[in-house]
Symmetry: C2
Subunit: 169 residues, 2 copies
DNA sequence: TAGCTGGCTTCAGTAAACATAAGTCAGCTA
DNA sequence: TAGCTGACTTATGTTTACTGAAGCCAGCTA
């Protein structure tokens, strides 16, 4: 679980952290639940507010952020006898967020589940079996928990020396 | 991406939602970044505050919540010539959260990346190849984006009728 | 025993994310 | 043209998550 890199954790900066940068966009409860709803198929403003359980101003703010960030797009639609309206729908960028939601749901199902079982299940279109998020390496191996370690990437910013962590693994 | 269930989305309640329940525990930016640091090997109070970039009161509050929720545990340790101190370390419940962080990092690497590439890479212990979160169904098939749909689970609470979503897929 | 240090807690204030309620506006229907 | 509806926006207030600075306590070292 640990590499030598971690013994010099203070030697690198988190200024360039993909997790932190992702959370700048979807770091609120409401934004993540709006993404959940978008995957459930919700498209209309009022429905987002109602189904996420937030007020309209909050829905407006979060939808605007997610649209500006490119996870959702406003597309015009027209129902017969109605004027043109706009629906919020997932872009490719937004659709690619599904693994995060599946992983969150999966953790909740495992560790914070209701007695009655999960409310919703994501299924594979082809076979109908339940879908899970799993870890896999580029060589194609399944990666079990504890079988991975954190390494420096090309964008790592080093800033100074470090002291060792207590205990060790 | 959509099932017939979604055309009756208002017929089910999200009172029993694993994603929402998970976000009750780790729904803040600081809590998620503390979990990131825990996987990086950080164990001491001051280091969490410094490396996450939050104040000590915020670190204290979030660490207390994560400990109470069982993702972290306070374990005593003693360095030579020092008194007994406590370190925060991941429990099984906390370690099982890794796929969420991998998925978040992966999305950030893809869609909000720095020009220089990612700061850190998670690697497989056995082969050193980079680790990714992928979706797989219980029948063992890889699930591509768009090849899944949302279905009712046993814990679904139905509440009333619905109106159709605009547009359709 | 007097400091020093790590690991917090307390205090006071700010900022962000929310709530509720009311208002606006476009354009279809009557 | 007058109302109605969906989709917002605006106004105001509350709650939650933070910040910085200071204080406290245990126990090791001098």
């Amino acid at each position: 679980m640990m590499s030598d890199l971690l013994t010099e954790r203070d030697a690198w900066s988190m200024a360039n952290c993909s997790i932190a940068r992702t959370l700048e966009i979807v770091g609120t409860r409401a934004a993540l639940l709006i993404m959940r709803e978008a995957f459930f198929g919700t498209r209309r403003f009022d429905d987002f507010a109602k189904r996420v359980g937030i007020g309209e101003p909050a829905a407006s703010a979060r939808l605007k952020e997610l649209t500006a960030a490119g996870l959702l797009e406003r597309v015009p639609y027209q129902e017969p006898g109605q004027r043109t309206r706009y629906a919020y729908q997932l872009t490719d960028k937004g659709r690619d967020f599904l693994p995060v939601l599946v992983a969150l749901r999966q953790w909740g199902d495992t560790w914070a589940a209701d007695e009655q079982g999960p409310a919703v299940v994501v299924r594979h279109k082809d076979c109908g079996a339940a879908v899970h998020a799993v870890l896999r390496c580029d060589d194609g191996h399944d990666v079990q928990l504890g079988d991975s370690f954190v390494d420096a990437g090309p964008g790592l910013i080093r800033v100074g020396p470090d002291r060792p962590e207590p205990g060790g693994e």
